[in-house]
Symmetry: C2
Subunit: 520 residues, 2 copies
């Protein structure tokens, strides 16, 4: 995009127009600098149709913070807003409001507390809490949802696909099927969520991870057109990368042409004292072809070479492939586990788009407004009780049981602090008939989930490294009950309210409904 | 993103790593500057599960060309590539190859011919043909697919949603559910495909379209917390935008609170001589609520106000809503058509993600290689015959029947030119039993589909305006048979090969298979 266009499209105007029209209303009401809190949370796990997530992996905050730090209402944005007219032909935005934006139109006054990236997260628990002047806390909504929803969606999908592969390496290959430059955020999230590496060269550079890739069908096609054929293509590749030779074997016919040619080239490498890395299968019956290719490679003495699979994979397809290998390999006299241990998964479209559920419905809701130093809780009623947000300034905790497994996330008022070993009532967020009584001693550990990200003085913590986020994700997934990790029909993890928070919520609902009855 | 990171992640390294490793192999073979042609096409229309597209709308070229013009292998990219090591610890990219990239590593030598943006397009017809030096034509693949696939996917979805709304205005509201900054391309494509306006402020500025939006639930919530309630919120909005007042009426209770409060505020506007614009419904039974709200608005004398619907809409949901309104409105003594004519659709998640099929499987295949001035056709065989690309340098034509409707797209060799009125055989691209015989006089018009976009000297045509692209889309859709436009189970549009092209394809397949047989 041309520079002046980029300034408009990727700067602070990367927002829904109503954030700006609302902000001017706040300005007219004189409340644009009132301190408020918005909570960002999602209401349900991704449901991919025939399989469902039982947990999500939080991601995106560092991308958001970088964006926030780099944008503000400057000359070009203000000139544009000044040019807009209402239906009556008058300026839509008044000079005094634009002056305020020119002076105060950046995100420097916002405080953000959030659950760290890489952590396991659940519905209705605020992933992010934004506090600050109303107008700017409103204007950030669109970018915040855009960045955090997408990266959390993809980190979650990556974690599932990685789990389905039983710990074998998983590579992210989806850039060509992503939404323009947005795919870079997807690569980042995939690397946090479970992908070991990515084919996305630029984003791998940014993330400090070696980019991965082999070759495409076009290399083989080209060599066929040049008259040196598939074997010639493989040989040229092996000559160039003698220590990194992975060959794509399905351009003509996998078992009749690709694998035999690859083996011939591998033999030449072996004679030169080199170790071939592997082959890639990109079409056909992946389990059957993996077994047959493994057999041919074994017979040629290449038992250590990898087999990269890369044909529309996702967690269910990988599960199916592994099941089929387990069933069929013994018929060919092969050890299924040995085949599975040499597999590598190249995952493209279905990871980068979160196929089946391509958006996380994360929302950003006003939960409190300061009034003379005290917080007034805000509510939005919904005809679907589960959609009524949990009001007020809250804290979020993770409770671990005596096995050390995470057993519930608990939302409390800000002055509550649940203690280890203490008995308590956990209320369902919207169903008054559902609650759970924790006996004394049932809880072995209580962990606060939020950490400050930025305060008035800027960042309040160092940027976490990719390795830290990955380690956090691995630890958190390990602490889930196996039922929650199930790929299909997972158990429901408990997200609960403290009794005090439950009471506040009921009070506010009654009040809003009461006002309604009086009005009608 | 920080500037140095942006240079890496959004510049020429916005590509799959194998494009670079392959290019070095081409360099070693001495064919990196050989002139080749790649075709970009998709193999099937989007299938959204319970509904399917019968045509696509082409989009994205201008975004791609801007990207191509702005990137090259410069210092930071070359330094990065120089730093990469192979498994043996040696430099992965050799100095001579990097020197070549430093000298020739931009897209200035590529020629592109394409079907213009906004045109109706069909499977297997090259949307884009890229000619130029092999290495750079290879390296552009990822960005080309990323940009063109996504925008074509979204322009297609927008066209369908617009069609389902029977010509009523459709607004694109999806930025918060898009993939990061990639959503900007989605906004652009939606505006080409059928959205009248967008809430995406920055991208609306770039596209020269007024951004649209009203207010969110938070405005009402805030005013409730301030003690001035929903009516106070509406009044503040109307005071600020007396000629542009559209009010969101579902924060508390649509029919009990929202609509009555909106009507009270509309009455005040009327007394001041202003015309209220409308209301927005964002939850619940949209058809039922639209009927009831219309009745209430009519009774208060606001028959001209719009009703904006915006709750997880897509083409099927809109179709369902319109059907329900047609059935139920008469029961309440209302004219269904009058209600339908006041509807406006705000479409978010399901448009910007192309819900149901969130990626277009467009591919980029090598079809010809120059050898001493003559073109050698290239082929890739697939076990699925429909996946074998059509080889060689081709031309694409649209044939119109005596009604003036488009009846088939025809691919021919580059020296063929089908004439009006001429009889001919249209071959199915992969099934040898299927062909269609056009009688003399059956075809009333033959239209070439490709136009040059960039040649050696840069752009060969002016950038088309949004209005031109939209007009093209409207004309093309109008020229489709109604069966092709059907939202569910559309007729299959014919895409055919000339006999000469069919013969070439069979010859190349036989040759590749023949070589295979000889080898085995």
């Amino acid at each position: 995009m041309r520079e002046q266009n980029r300034e408009m499209a990727e700067g602070i105007l990367f927002t829904d127009f109503y954030q700006l029209t609302m902000s001017q209303v706040y300005f007219r009401l004189g409340v644009h600098e009132r301190t408020v809190q918005f909570d960002h949370f999602f209401r349900r796990y991704p449901d991919y149709g025939n399989h469902q997530a039982g947990y999500c992996i939080n991601a995106g905050m560092e991308t958001l913070v970088e964006w926030m730090e780099g944008v503000r209402f400057g000359g070009p944005q203000l000139d544009y807003l000044r040019s807009l007219e209402d239906t009556g032909g008058r300026a839509l935005f008044a000079a005094d409001f634009l002056d305020w934006l020119a002076r105060c139109g950046d995100f420097g006054a916002l405080h953000i507390a959030a659950i760290p990236e890489g952590r396991v997260v659940h519905p209705n628990v605020p992933l992010t809490a934004v506090q600050g002047p109303l107008a700017m806390a409103q204007i950030i909504e669109t970018a915040l949802l855009n960045i955090l929803n997408y990266q959390t969606l993809i980190a979650t999908k990556a974690a599932r696909i990685f789990e389905s592969g039983l710990g074998q390496p998983m590579l992210e290959f989806g850039l060509r099927r992503a939404q323009g430059g947005g795919g870079n955020g997807g690569t980042r999230a995939a690397l946090i969520g479970g992908a070991g590496f990515s084919s996305n060269t630029g984003m791998s550079a940014v993330m400090g991870v070696a980019p991965k890739g082999t070759h495409a069908h076009s290399l083989v096609q080209l060599c066929m057109a040049l008259g040196i054929g598939e074997e010639g293509a493989f040989e040229a590749y092996a000559d160039t990368y003698p220590d990194d030779t992975t060959l794509l074997v399905d351009t003509i016919d996998t078992l009749e042409s690709g694998v035999p040619n690859a083996i011939r080239v591998f033999e030449k490498l072996r004679r030169k004292g080199r170790r071939p890395v592997g082959i890639r299968l990109d079409s056909g019956d992946q389990a059957f072809l993996a077994i047959q290719a493994a057999k041919m490679l074994d017979e040629a003495g290449f038992e250590d070479t990898s087999i990269v699979l890369s044909s529309d994979l996702d967690e269910l397809v990988i599960w199916q492939i592994l099941t089929q290998i387990a069933q069929e390999a013994p018929r060919y006299g092969l050890d299924a586990d040995k085949i599975i241990k040499r597999l590598v998964y190249g995952v493209g479209t279905r990871l980068i788009t979160s196929w089946g559920e391509p958006a996380l419905g994360g929302v950003y809701k006003l939960v409190a407004v300061q009034d003379g130093g005290a917080w007034e809780s805000a509510i939005k009623i919904s005809e679907t009780p589960a959609k009524t947000p949990n009001p007020g300034i809250k804290r979020a905790w993770r409770l671990y049981d005596q096995r050390g497994k995470a057993t519930a996330d608990l939302l409390t008022l800000s002055d509550e602090a649940p203690g280890v070993g203490q008995g308590m009532i956990l209320r369902h967020p919207s169903d008054h008939t559902k609650f759970r009584r924790l006996r004394e001693g049932e809880i072995s550990r209580v962990e606060p989930l939020h950490a400050d990200v930025i305060g008035a003085g800027g960042r309040t913590q160092a940027v976490p490294s990719l390795e830290e986020m990955r380690a956090q994700r691995a630890r958190d997934v390990e602490l889930l009950d196996p039922g929650i990790r199930r790929l299909v029909n997972p158990h429901i993890y408990h997200v609960s309210l403290s009794e005090k928070l439950w009471d506040l919520k009921q009070e506010l609902i009654a009040e809003a409904r009461g006002n309604l009855r009086n009005e009608v």
